[in-house]
């Protein structure tokens, strides 16, 4: 009869390995891409148009300003992607919120206000209304995805189409203009950048240091294990999609305030740019992986590319072609990273 005797295993020194301690954060590589792109435009700038790309404060502000709205949406979409889902409805929700918020922010000068008795309201009212509309859209997404087994892609595709239709129906296609100065202030100057970075900061903390964040990663990493570990998966998904909706609503408010009008065509294709920013920043469409810092860098890369091409006076066509290439390259890189990490995909 063999005897199995328990002995303590060989003790390994704990975490004193220098190489492990000085590990690079996962965003390091994508940050290098950002720097590389910026330097490439700097070099081309001197060669082609005899100007500096980077040493131009106003251009940098405009560059970030242009992508701030995308960035706000991307912060929400990143969380959805971490759960293993996707949100295609954000661009349309931007339009719907912009319409509703603008309709409650019209000044007394408006020629045919949407609500003649509701002009010159304090700016807080349209803001709250806009966020509520975003939350409602997110709640619809979250409820349907968590309670039925519709794939998020299809569900949010439906909401994308319907929300765009609602935005048009709201004023029968008429733009809503002449907004109050207090409301317009939300989108003026560098405010959108401030709002973007504040949003990113809040959700960076939420994802890394709160139970909400831990559960978000757990659900995306392995939904069945998350359920067995006692996480209320449907309730959590509802929360994540609602937050994404609120952030789309916020983006709609900023967009309408900056344009000082609400138009049903606003936010067209924004959802795809936001998804691109998250994916370039390292979020994995299979779930469980992604960070807000990466998404912010991804957003900036989109900004650098569009601003750089304009700066070099290259046609917008090329800009789109290159942007598409960058997105695909980011996903290919993601596949390689996952294959290196997960031995299952090797067999």
């Amino acid at each position: 009869m063999r005897q199995v005797i328990l002995q303590p295993g060989p003790q390994r020194p704990a975490a004193t390995d220098g190489r492990r301690a000085r590990r690079w954060p996962p965003e390091a590589s994508i940050f290098l891409v950002l720097v590389g792109l910026a330097l490439a435009f700097e070099l081309l700038g001197w060669l082609l148009v005899h100007q500096s790309f980077l040493l131009n404060g106003p251009r940098l502000v405009i560059m970030i300003l242009q992508v701030s709205v995308i960035g706000i949406i991307a912060v929400g979409v990143t969380q959805v992607i971490i759960t293993g889902g996707i949100d295609l409805s954000s661009g349309s929700v931007v339009a719907l919120t912009a319409m509703v918020a603008a309709s409650l922010a019209q000044s007394a000068d408006a020629v045919h206000p949407v609500y003649p008795s509701l002009t010159e309201l304090p700016a807080i009212l349209p803001v709250v209304a806009g966020l509520a509309v975003g939350a409602a859209a997110g709640l619809v997404n979250g409820t349907l995805i968590a309670r039925t087994s519709i794939p998020p892609f299809i569900e949010t595709l439906g909401v994308m189409v319907s929300a765009r239709g609602l935005a048009k129906w709201y004023t029968r296609g008429q733009p809503v203009s002449l907004l109050t100065d207090a409301y317009a202030a939300i989108g003026s100057g560098a405010m959108p950048v401030v709002i973007f970075l504040a949003t990113a900061g809040i959700f960076h903390v939420a994802l890394r240091y709160t139970r909400y964040g831990k559960f978000t990663y757990a659900i995306g990493s392995n939904p069945q294990a998350a359920r067995v570990s006692g996480i209320n998966v449907p309730r959590h998904l509802l929360m994540v999609y609602t937050i994404a909706g609120v952030l789309s609503g916020l983006a709609g408010i900023v967009t309408s305030a900056r344009a000082e009008s609400g138009q049903a065509g606003m936010g067209m294709m924004y959802e795809l740019d936001a998804i691109a920013a998250a994916v370039i920043g390292g979020a994995s469409l299979s779930g469980g992986v992604g960070r807000i810092t990466g998404t912010v860098i991804g957003t900036l890369i989109l900004g650098v590319v569009s601003s750089g091409f304009t700066f070099l006076r290259i046609d917008a066509y090329y800009q789109e072609i290159v942007k598409g290439g960058i997105i695909v390259a980011a996903v290919i890189a993601d596949q390689y990273r996952r294959r290196a990490r997960d031995p299952r995909t090797l067999s």
């Binding site: 009869m1 063999r2 005897q3 199995v4 328990l6 303590p8 295993g9 390994r12 704990a14 975490a15 390995d17 492990r20 240091y209 709160t210 139970r211 909400y212 831990k214 559960f215 990663y217 757990a218 995306g220 990493s221 392995n222 069945q224 294990a225 998350a226 359920r227 067995v228 570990s229 006692g230 996480i231 209320n232 994995s284 779930g287 469980g288 992986v289 990490r341 997960d342 031995p343 299952r344």
Partner: protein, 503 residues
């Protein structure tokens, strides 16, 4: 008996020589040789994990062997894919059915070999004519145009069988083909098998139903722990002899779990039922007691564990915890009642593979502790996790490493640690040491015994009889969804359990 009437086996059709195969950390097959003669049915039996399925998969070209060679009709055979095996005349009927539910019966049978017309499009008329002819010859009553997804499991099995026959194979491998079949369908299948034999073809047959051996098999090979224990004519063996061959290893000395005075009843199940998985299951689990649950794969043990933890709630019966009847219809409720559930499948329902060891450890306890105003108390939880990783003797250089980098045994320790952090008083363990090396196994046994010693109730499913016998205070045996016996530790032995588990 019919099987013995065929007499001396003919020429050898398939020979497997010195086949070895190991998976990371486990030797699945160790120098196994097998000879299947034409016109015979060769049965392969053994406990779960003895290596039967691995051997079949090697012969069917699904996985490559590490060492050894295959010969078909005397010719050296080098298989790189199941398709190649099919072309050589080896077809396999899988235990997990490999059919496409959205396609019709005919499309499934002829997939990849559909008759085409002059334009290269599928000729559906010809396809259905062929299918009808095949089904008629096999006397299988199925509509060629029926969608496979709409068929019951047993009917799907018939589609698989028809598919395998359609290949005109020399060797047919069947992995527990009768597990889902009714008695009538089984008898029908045996008729088909006998017809194959009379045509000089051979069948390699895996089964857990021992009665079938005497009915259909000409030869039986017993595998145990990846080794070939022997090949014999079933007529020369008794049932008891076969069981001894299957389980006969020396019982390893597993941690003697000191039996404390049985405490109060923690968990009482009365008539729990979840069709078609299990029915009318009743038992009691006391504080400080380890209840071993034995049975073959498919006996409904894992589904019962899922029902106890609310993953797939039972649809009948009562569950009492601490004497109060409760309805556990989600894992959140079970967790709140101090239960813990280590699932059978580490990868599918256990690990968060993209996350760090630390995240994997803390995920369950965060629902109950270490959180203030939504914020995780990082340093405290990290300290608790570090303590736990020492307690379970986790070998990980850094808790911030991804769990995917750990070995199976260490991943299992992380999952056990995840539940121990919640301070459970009732543990449900499903195959707690599957696929784990001996050292880690002993450590996990030690932990389980320790927990029971401190008054926790443990419900432990295991397919390894030595583990069941070495650890349990009482043993519940299940077969085909029913409890077939409840044995005290003193009266239990391997043969008694096997007899109750496989009839």
């Amino acid at each position: 008996m019919d099987a013995e009437a065929t007499g001396a086996p003919g020429d050898s059709l398939l020979e497997a020589r010195h086949i070895s195969k190991s998976f990371p950390g486990v030797a699945a097959l160790d120098d196994v040789s097998l000879r299947v003669a034409r016109g015979t049915v060769h049965a392969l039996i053994g406990e779960n994990g003895a290596g039967k399925s691995t051997l079949m998969k090697i012969i069917a070209g699904i996985v490559p062997a590490d060492a050894g060679e295959l010969r078909l009709a005397g010719r050296y055979l080098r298989l790189e894919s199941p398709r190649q095996a099919l072309e050589c005349g080896i077809a396999m009927i899988h235990q997990e059915l490999n059919l496409m539910p959205a396609l019709s019966v005919a499309e499934n049978i002829w997939i990849g070999r559909e008759p085409v017309n002059a334009c290269g499009l599928i000729n559906h008329g010809e396809l259905h004519r062929r299918t009808r002819a095949l089904l008629e010859r096999l006397q299988i009553d199925l509509d060629p145009q029926a969608q496979v997804g709409t068929l019951a499991l047993a009917r799907r099995q018939l589609v698989e069988i028809a598919k395998a026959f359609s290949h005109q194979s020399q060797l047919l491998i069947m992995d527990e083909p009768t597990s889902a079949l009714s008695e009538r369908d089984t008898a029908h299948l045996f008729d088909l098998i006998r017809e194959l034999k009379s045509q000089g073809k051979a069948v390699l047959y895996i089964t857990h139903r021992m009665d079938e051996l005497w009915e259909i098999a000409d030869q039986v090979t017993v595998l145990r722990d990846g080794r070939c224990i022997g090949t014999e004519r079933p007529g020369k063996l008794t049932r008891a002899q076969l069981i001894r061959m299957m389980v006969g290893r020396e019982l390893e000395r597993i941690f003697p779990h000191e039996r404390a005075a049985p405490g109060k009843v923690l968990l009482a199940a009365r008539g729990l039922t979840l069709e078609p998985h299990f029915r009318d299951v009743s038992f009691e689990l006391r504080a400080g007691e380890i209840l071993g649950v034995a049975g073959l794969i498919g006996a409904g043990r894992s589904k019962l564990a899922e029902a106890l933890f609310g993953v797939t709630p039972a649809d009948g019966g009562q569950l009492c915890i601490d004497g109060a009847e409760i309805i556990v219809d989600s894992p959140c409720i079970a967790l709140g009642r101090g239960m813990a559930y280590l699932t059978e499948d580490r990868k599918e329902t256990g690990c968060f593979l993209t996350l760090a060891v630390l995240d994997n450890l803390e995920m369950a306890v965060l629902s109950r502790n270490f959180v203030r105003f939504g914020f995780v108390r990082g340093t405290e939880v990290a300290q608790a996790c570090a303590d736990m990783s020492r307690k379970v003797r986790l070998k990980a250089p850094d808790l911030r490493e991804p769990i995917a980098n750990l070995s199976g045994g260490n991943q299992q320790k992380v999952l056990i640690g995840r539940w121990l952090l919640t301070g459970p008083k009732l543990l449900i363990l499903d195959e707690p040491t599957r696929g784990i090396d001996v050292g880690a196994k002993a450590e996990i046994h030690h932990l389980i015994a320790q927990l029971a010693g401190r008054g926790a109730g443990v419900f432990m499913i295991s397919s390894e009889l030595p583990e069941i016998l070495g650890m349990s205070d009482r043993i519940m045996v299940m077969r085909e969804g029913c409890v077939t016996g409840m044995l005290e530790r003193a009266e239990a032995d391997q043969e008694k359990i096997m007899t109750l588990a496989a009839q």
